[in-house]
Symmetry: C2
Subunit: 304 residues, 2 copies
């Protein structure tokens, strides 16, 4: 039993209407690992950083049960860097800078202990890198979840489709589901994506919640209506991390449990947006999560 | 026990990516009455039409239990007419024509039997007309629900606020809630609207569901994910009609029952969009509604 997480570990500079955070830690791998660690502690992280990445942040991850032996540290090089500015409604953003740095020629090498895992989370990364990880796995995991983004649909669609064909669950946002499938209506988009391979499709709608499609069944998980969304960065990754972390903890991939996992992902994502970067994911305690889950129960409760 | 419904009764010409429907019946009063009639049959309609309106449609309403003695028919004049064209995503539309006709100088006169009702639905109408109806009510109803739209916020905000101050429940869409309150975050918008009078605020988000805010509690009702949205016209009115029709039927205005009523409103609205105009509202049978409610249960079911 282990959860293997692939995803970028990086620096972000983020501007929102509330302020600016310079070169804070970020990246899909960071958010997924922190989010999943609230439910499950046997996590193995595969990624790459330069020697500019703060050792204290790696130590904090290790203290959460995250194995970083698969995190390549390249001497004399810089970590991936992204800078972006959110618009006033927080629903759209402009990318101000992207510096690939160590990502430019990353070829992941899984340590032996990483090659037999029960849960695999392929966080957002170049499809070719996601495929390299799949190819080094020696025993089929119980569940492979993949996240991606429109960027890869634009520049590497064929590679992307090869990875999609190999996973159990694809998580994309609504616009990405439309782009990938060519269908506007989300139930039709999910059907088209099922036909590409994944038996389960999660369509993330940000503040509008998420839909789970699986063998003709559909589940809807709302997002918590929040008074303040401080920084949306990493919300989708946190959602995916909470989702797979809960599945790994409970070791149950039934549709009924995936419904629960989606709520747990929504709960973790609702914390993520409350402060800049992964700050809230690093602060929250089990009691905070229990309280938020109770708020979700209140939000969703109806008998008819 | 009666439900009084105010709302336009009109002709619409509707263009969607699927086709065009010329001069079909429409108007908020038509949609609210048809929607509510699936749950409750003692409905009194107050509105105005010209002598161009088809008698068969009025007979169909009366056969559903809708009292039309408060529907003024003005000889030699034409009914209200609206024409619009939906964009490809169905989320936005252009108004192509608005002919007020009989609406230009409508001053509703409630028949005596209309002045003591338990439920009052002020469908979308000029705030001054909504106020005239309130002023003719001789006994405070158990519940007054009001719908409105951004148009009245633009041209009659002071009148609108006077009506809002007198109602128990305000239903508006998300953009209207933001415009009315000046707040972007919907929980903040709801608080600001509570301060204007309504103890209960329903914020409609179309395909993204609806939020119910009441005394610090929040409930979220999803919309049914549909493969085809044929014509969104009247969906919000149908939602409001299903909501108040269910409340009138059960005669229970507790928050727990409002949660159920919101699901019933969502179910009725999900039928409305399946064909042009109110066609589906006129076709569906109790078994169809029961089946749709079961689909909502499946969509929402989770235990955690």
């Amino acid at each position: 039993m282990s959860l293997l997480v692939l995803g970028t570990v990086a620096f972000d500079t983020i501007e929102t209407p509330f302020g600016k955070a310079e070169r804070i830690i970020g990246g899909a791998g960071t958010y997924v690992a922190w989010a999943a660690s609230h439910f499950y502690q046997d996590i193995k992280l595969v990624s790459i950083i330069g020697d500019d990445y703060p050792e204290a942040e790696l130590a904090a991850l290790r203290a959460r049960g995250v194995d970083t032996t698969g995190l390549e540290v390249r001497k004399g090089e810089k970590s991936f860097f992204w800078a972006g500015r959110y618009h006033n409604n927080m629903n759209s953003r402009d990318t101000l800078a992207t510096e690939l740095n160590v990502l430019a020629d990353f070829n992941p090498k899984l340590p032996a202990a990483y090659t037999e895992v029960d849960y695999l989370m392929l966080g957002n990364f170049a499809p070719a890198v996601q495929m390299q990880v799949i190819n080094q796995i020696t025993r089929r995991p119980k569940l492979v979840v993949m996240d991606t983004m429109n960027f890869w649909m634009d520049i590497a669609l064929e590679d992307l489709k090869k990875v999609i064909a190999k996973v159990d669950v694809l998580t994309v946002n609504d616009e990405e589901a439309r782009q990938l499938s060519g269908e506007h209506a989300l139930p039709k988009a999910a059907k088209a994506i099922h036909a590409m391979g994944p038996k389960t499709v999660v369509i993330k709608k940000g503040e509008h919640g998420a839909l789970l499609f699986h063998e003709g069944q559909t589940f809807f998980a709302p997002a918590m209506p929040l008074e303040t969304v401080f920084d949306p960065t990493g919300a989708g990754d946190s959602f995916a991390g909470g989702f797979i972390g809960y599945l790994a903890k409970t070791d149950d991939i039934s549709f009924a449990n995936m419904r629960r996992a989606l709520i747990h992902g929504s709960a973790i994502a609702s914390f993520c947006v409350e402060k800049f970067g992964p700050t809230r994911l690093q602060e929250i305690q089990p009691a905070d999560i229990q309280e938020r889950l109770q708020q979700f129960k209140n939000l969703m409760h109806v008998d008819f």
